[in-house]
């Protein structure tokens, strides 16, 4: 990439030109006078004035044509007003593909001019300081966005709305850090008093609330959300098969995967540990090229009696069979809290609903109820029963062995995950941004805990350490905080100096 030559490209439907009313050709270079002088005229056939910013009609000179010139709309953007930060001309030409490609070829035939590579206009904008990295990243997502939510999110990064939130958090954190640092470095100064712990706790709470709102996490469940959030940011969502022992979860697991991954047996407690396998589901309705990738997890059977015991069992050294089972169940419950979607399985001949204690910790919209073993010998399902089951929201009766109704479950899983990731109410943040915000919130939550539970106030150097960790976490979005900036804040706040 060079910045010195001129680059040009068709900016509308660049990859598959088709007949349309008009097409836009963009040219960017440090100096465009050669294009202006050689190829463009005003509508009255005068040379155009590149100092004149704005849109005006004019003519494009197509040399080999008999027709002396082509009417075009010329948008002239000087370097200080353009997207790239260089002089830019945008030509709106009639949308005939043949004409468009002729105009472009004519431009590219100019000395020191070449076709722009994909993203090169944005790259120039970044190189010349017109876009920040976050904005350039937002732009890339913008162009690649395939859903409205992605687009909104990309736009918010590009126009800096996420950026301005981050800058605000960043400014407030910097200020807190400065107050803490002032209490360390300038205690020999009459004027300086470090920040009070209650004030600090208060400010931390406010910040955490806002960060959590942006992340779509409930502050109360920050701890539980850690794995969930990191999963959301970096890994496919987890779909957990959960239910009483011998509900046929492992059989369903194998059926969904399409292979015998899990050991199955009639005896309860066959599955002792969590089994995880990646799975990709295709859309069942148009557009069919959509897909979601998830992690399918098979959990040990959940015995209600055991599950309460599990909570109080010391997890260090299990000795008895019962303890082992209890531990396995505890793990299943943890997995349920982290899962994006829980498929609650019970056998159709022993129906059981989600235990109340567990239900209260899972978002009700994240549960799909399934009744298995529809083929059960001697259990003939009559039409009325079938209707009742179908009417019950999100309960799917199926048979994993025959594959009956299995597609219904696949569709339900697909719909749930797709809608979650594509029409969410919170910003559909780029994973890297999500991770940055989360790391920041995490550091603040740690500090908040330290301050409220321990006597951390006597160690401002540790408070400062954690605050800086939080600020550093925001750095990918806002840039680093220079140590001089912290000092600058201190000097402007306090009268320092004996």
């Amino acid at each position: 990439m060079l910045l010195s030559d001129a680059i040009a490209a068709v900016s509308t439907f660049a990859d598959r030109p088709a007949a349309a009313a008009a097409a836009l050709i963009r040219i960017s270079a440090p100096d465009l006078s050669f294009v202006a002088a050689g190829l463009l005229r005003t509508s009255t056939n005068e040379p155009i004035d590149l100092d004149r910013r704005g849109a005006f009609s004019g003519r494009f000179i197509l040399p080999p044509l008999c027709e002396p010139s082509l009417p075009v709309l010329i948008i002239n953007l000087p370097a200080n007003a353009s997207f790239t930060g260089q002089a830019t001309l945008e030509l709106v030409v009639p949308g005939s593909p043949v004409l468009v490609s002729r105009v472009l070829r004519t431009i590219l035939a100019q000395p020191n001019t070449r076709r722009a590579e994909p993203g090169e206009f944005a790259a120039r904008a970044y190189a010349l300081g017109r876009l920040t990295l976050a904005q350039a990243e937002g732009l890339a997502a913008f162009i690649a966005a395939s859903t409205d939510a992605q687009l909104r999110s990309a736009k918010s990064v590009l126009t800096g709305s996420l950026g301005s939130h981050c800058l605000d958090w960043h400014a407030r954190l910097s200020r807190l850090l400065a107050l803490v640092e002032a209490g360390i470095d300038f205690t020999d100064q009459e004027d300086v008093r470090g920040i009070d712990t209650p004030q600090l706790i208060d400010d931390l709470q406010t910040l955490l609330r806002e960060l959590h709102a942006h992340l779509g996490i409930s502050p109360a469940k920050h701890r539980e959300s850690i794995s969930q959030a990191s999963l959301a940011a970096n890994a496919p969502p987890s779909v957990l098969l959960l239910g009483p022992p011998s509900a046929g979860k492992s059989t369903l697991f194998n059926a969904l995967l399409g292979r015998a991954r899990a050991l199955t047996d009639e005896a309860p407690g066959t599955t002792r540990d969590l089994l995880r396998e990646p799975l990709t589901l295709q859309a069942h309705a148009a557009p069919r090229n959509r897909s979601v990738t998830l992690t399918l997890t098979d959990a040990p059977g959940l015995d209600i009696a055991f599950s309460t015991a599990a909570a109080s069992t010391n997890p260090t050294e299990p000795r008895t069979h019962a303890e082992i089972l209890a531990r396995a169940q505890a793990r299943a419950i943890d997995a349920a809290r982290e899962a994006a979607l829980v498929i609650w399985c019970s056998s159709i001949d022993h129906p059981a609903d989600v235990p109340a204690a567990l239900a209260s910790t899972i978002n009700p919209r994240s549960i799909i109820r399934v009744q298995t073993k529809l083929d059960r010998a001697g259990f003939a399902i009559n039409a009325a029963e079938h209707d009742r089951l179908a009417a019950e929201p999100r309960t799917i009766a199926l048979c994993a062995l025959t594959g009956h109704n299995l597609d219904h479950l696949r569709s339900a899983i697909f719909d749930s995950l797709w809608s979650r990731s594509h029409t969410g109410s919170t910003l559909d943040l780029l994973p890297r941004h999500h991770a940055a915000l989360f790391a920041c919130a995490n550091a603040l939550a740690n500090l908040h805990e330290e301050l409220t539970q321990n006597d951390a106030a006597e160690h401002p150097e540790l408070i400062a350490h954690t605050l800086r960790t939080a600020l550093d976490a925001l750095a990918p979005l806002t840039g680093r905080v220079e140590r001089d900036e912290t000092l600058g804040l201190i000097f402007s706040t306090f009268c320092i100096g004996k």
Binding site: M1, A127, T187, D191, A475, I496, K498
Partner: protein
């Protein structure tokens, strides 16, 4: 006259003496037994003078003094020998931010430093003003010295009188044994100095008392030159409307050297600093003012102070350092008074006469050390500021007014001082003044203190835009070390940000554009929890041994012995702490709890029938208290290490790296970082820029490799 040295140090302030001392430690004596280091100063009697506040250390600065001591420097020893109030600041907070501070007897301090320098036969003190640098082919060869007749005369006669004074003053303080050893050194110093003064005399200027001397110009040659000009380079002092050329009250400015540096292509800047008025203690109603006392149990800066028995010390010639006693001098108290609305009103009424506000001074002063007029303007809502009255010496009654640095006219200063409670009848012995001076913008040096433009020329102290004795001394030590290593044909040595405050300072200087005199704060150090006063020796004494700072000098052997013992005890105690269980937890685990104090740990380990030195228990405890955080920052460090190791070729042409953002490219062209890590710390560099730079450097190397048929050499730092 001896004119050939290995290293020449210009300037006898805190940077200069530390540079000369460090160079002497590395170089030792020449083969013929003569000096290897020349210390050129306008007035040898002013060596080690405390121009401003007679205090050493404080927050972050105390850590630097501990680092200087760990690197076998002299500042800690001189402070311990002459401190009249010791106090560790911030003791209510974690040990990482404890800041040891001492107020010194300023006369005793200068004498102690002069005694220590005199005690080193490796160092030859030359009186004169450096007027030019001898540079050939981009490499320094020596200096041109203008020996003013009066200065020369003063040197030979005053050298004796100053030594005489020192022994007298010390014995009056009741340290006869120390005074003797100091005397012994003085004799030795005169004989080593004698060479040059004889030479000078032979040029025919022994007509004592006559001020019309012939001006003597001579050249000294060396492999490396350390320049420490302090506030003297085109120094200009202001008190109200009155301007006087000079670097310190009553002392001339250094004029030639600015021009010489500009001629060599250096970009100079101008900074400002100031000092408050001094009062006569006898005229202050001292006893009526609230007092400020030092710590009951003084803590020494040096690992050697007070560590030897008198017999052990007796046989050694160890400079003015007090190795068998600490503290040495009688401890004293300070007093506190305050400014008032009336004082502030007078200042406001006279602002037009203050050089800072009349436009007479345009250079920038430090925000953290504002003049009283600055405070009144910037914090107009405050009606009162504290003023600390600090005795400057036990042997005179000068009092330093900490808090009212000013350059207002003398009549205004008179009125202000008399409005301070307790000072109604105070006599002003010296008025406050501001001083402007030239500095070399520090992007022109490497983190070794060597200039980029002239090989072998090193800069240290205020010339690099810093302020403070400790900052100056830290740079002086590093400059002296590297000047000496260059003279020995050894590779330059740098200190990392993760191992020392001195490293933080050097890295900051070469990656930031200074807007005010640079002062150290603990918040500048990202590895603050590890850069502590208590573990300075653990961090840096091994470095000192590796780079040659412990090669020569009587103190080196002693220090090595002390350190070996400390390391052994620390190891043994560590094992004991990690092993011993109290209930379910080990002592190590208990140390992580804030409520488990050093004293508590002492109770547990002391019971094993063994006396552990307090300082060893303190470090063992603190290391474990911060262990969790230290481990995390070590993990980050390994990431950063990769960047620290990746060098950037010195000859890289950033003009050609058009892929870089314009802002990043400008920063790179200005600072020319030596490693990717340094590049990452430049202003305006984003992480993306650093990644891109990494790729471009690699590509550039490959291209160069193809062109020249080999990898270009990695630049020395």
């Amino acid at each position: 006259m001896k004119t050939a040295f290995k290293v020449i140090v210009i300037g006898g302030g805190h940077a200069g003496v530390e540079a000369a001392w460090a160079a002497a430690n590395v170089l030792g004596l020449a083969e013929d037994g003569s000096a290897t280091v020349a210390l050129v100063t306008q007035d040898p009697e002013k060596i080690g003078v405390m121009s401003c506040n007679p205090a050493i250390g404080g927050l972050a600065k105390g850590q630097i003094v501990r680092e200087i001591d760990a690197l076998n420097g002299l500042m800690g020893l001189a402070t311990d020998a002459t401190g009249i109030q010791f106090k560790v600041l911030n003791t209510s907070k974690g040990p990482a931010v404890h800041g040891p501070r001492a107020q010194c007897d300023k006369h005793a301090y200068a004498r102690a430093v002069q005694g220590m320098i005199a005690g080193r036969a490796e160092i030859c003190v030359v009186a004169g003003s450096v007027e030019g640098l001898v540079v050939e082919g981009g490499e320094v060869r020596g200096v041109r010295v203008l020996g003013k007749g009066r200065g020369l005369k003063a040197q030979s006669s005053k050298a004796q009188s100053s030594n005489g004074q020192s022994s007298k003053a010390q014995s009056s303080n009741g340290q006869s044994s120390k005074a003797q050893s100091s005397n012994g050194q003085s004799t030795k110093a005169q004989s080593s100095d004698g060479q040059s003064s004889n030479q000078q005399s032979s040029r025919g200027d022994d007509s004592a008392g006559d001020l019309r001397f012939e001006v003597l110009s001579f050249e000294l040659s060396a492999d490396a030159v350390v320049l420490t000009t302090g506030t003297f380079m085109r120094g200009l002092m202001h008190t109200g409307e009155r301007k006087t050329a000079g670097g310190r009250f009553g002392e001339a400015a250094a004029v030639g050297i600015s021009g010489a540096l500009a001629g060599l292509g250096f970009e100079l800047g101008r900074l400002k600093t100031g000092t408050p008025p001094r009062l006569r203690r006898g005229t202050i109603r001292w006893e009526e003012l609230p007092e400020q006392l030092g710590d009951e149990r003084a803590v020494a800066f040096s690992d050697l102070s007070g560590m030897l028995s008198e017999e052990e010390e007796g046989g050694e010639r160890l400079g003015a350092a007090s190795l068998s006693r600490f503290p040495v001098l009688r401890q004293t108290d300070c007093r506190i008074t305050t400014t008032s609305a009336a004082v502030h009103r007078i200042i406001r009424e006279n602002l037009h006469r203050a050089p800072m506000y009349s436009g007479q001074i345009e250079s920038v002063g430090p925000r953290y050390c504002p003049s009283l007029e600055d405070k009144v303007v910037r914090f107009a809502e405050r009606e009162s500021h504290q003023v600390f009255l600090e005795p400057e010496s036990l042997s005179d009654d000068w009092v330093y007014c900490n808090g009212i640095s000013t350059s207002l006219p003398v009549d205004v200063q008179d009125r202000i001082v008399r409005l301070l409670p307790g000072c109604e009848g105070a006599e002003i012995l010296r008025y406050g003044y501001a001083v402007e001076y030239d500095m070399v913008k520090p992007h022109q040096i490497y983190a070794t203190c060597e200039t980029r433009g002239v090989r072998g020329l090193f800069l240290a102290g205020q010339i690099n835009g810093t302020s403070g004795y400790e900052e100056a001394a830290g740079q002086g030590l590093l400059a002296g070390l590297n000047a000496a290593r260059r003279a020995r044909g050894e590779e330059a040595a740098v200190l990392g940000r993760e191992e020392s405050y001195i490293g933080v300072m050097m890295d900051d200087l070469v990656t930031k554009t200074p807007t005010e005199p640079y002062r150290m704060f603990t918040s500048r150090a990202e590895h603050r929890l590890n850069l502590r006063a208590d573990n300075a020796a653990d961090r840096l004494t091994p470095v000192a041994e590796r780079v040659g700072l412990m090669r020569h000098g009587d103190l080196s052997r002693l220090r090595a012995g002390r350190f070996e013992r400390r390391s052994r005890l620390l190891r043994e105690l560590g094992e004991l702490i990690d092993r011993t269980r109290v209930g379910e937890k080990t002592l190590a685990e208990l140390c992580r709890r804030p409520e488990f104090t050093v004293e508590e740990l002492m109770r547990y380990v002391g019971g094993a029938g063994r006396d552990w030195p307090t300082e060893v228990v303190f470090t063992a405890h603190t290391d474990r208290f911060y262990q969790h955080y230290l481990r995390k920052s070590r993990e980050q460090m390994t990431l950063q290490d990769d960047l620290e190791r990746r060098g950037i070729p010195a000859e890289i042409e950033y003009e050609r790296l058009v892929h870089l953002r314009a802002e990043a490219r400008q920063a790179l062209m200005k600072f020319r970082p030596v490693t990717l890590a340094q590049a990452s710390r430049l202003e305006g560099m984003t992480p993306a820029d650093v990644t891109l730079l990494g790729v471009l450097v690699k590509k550039w190397r490959q291209e160069q490799g193809r062109r020249t048929g080999g990898e270009p050499p990695v630049p020395s730092r």
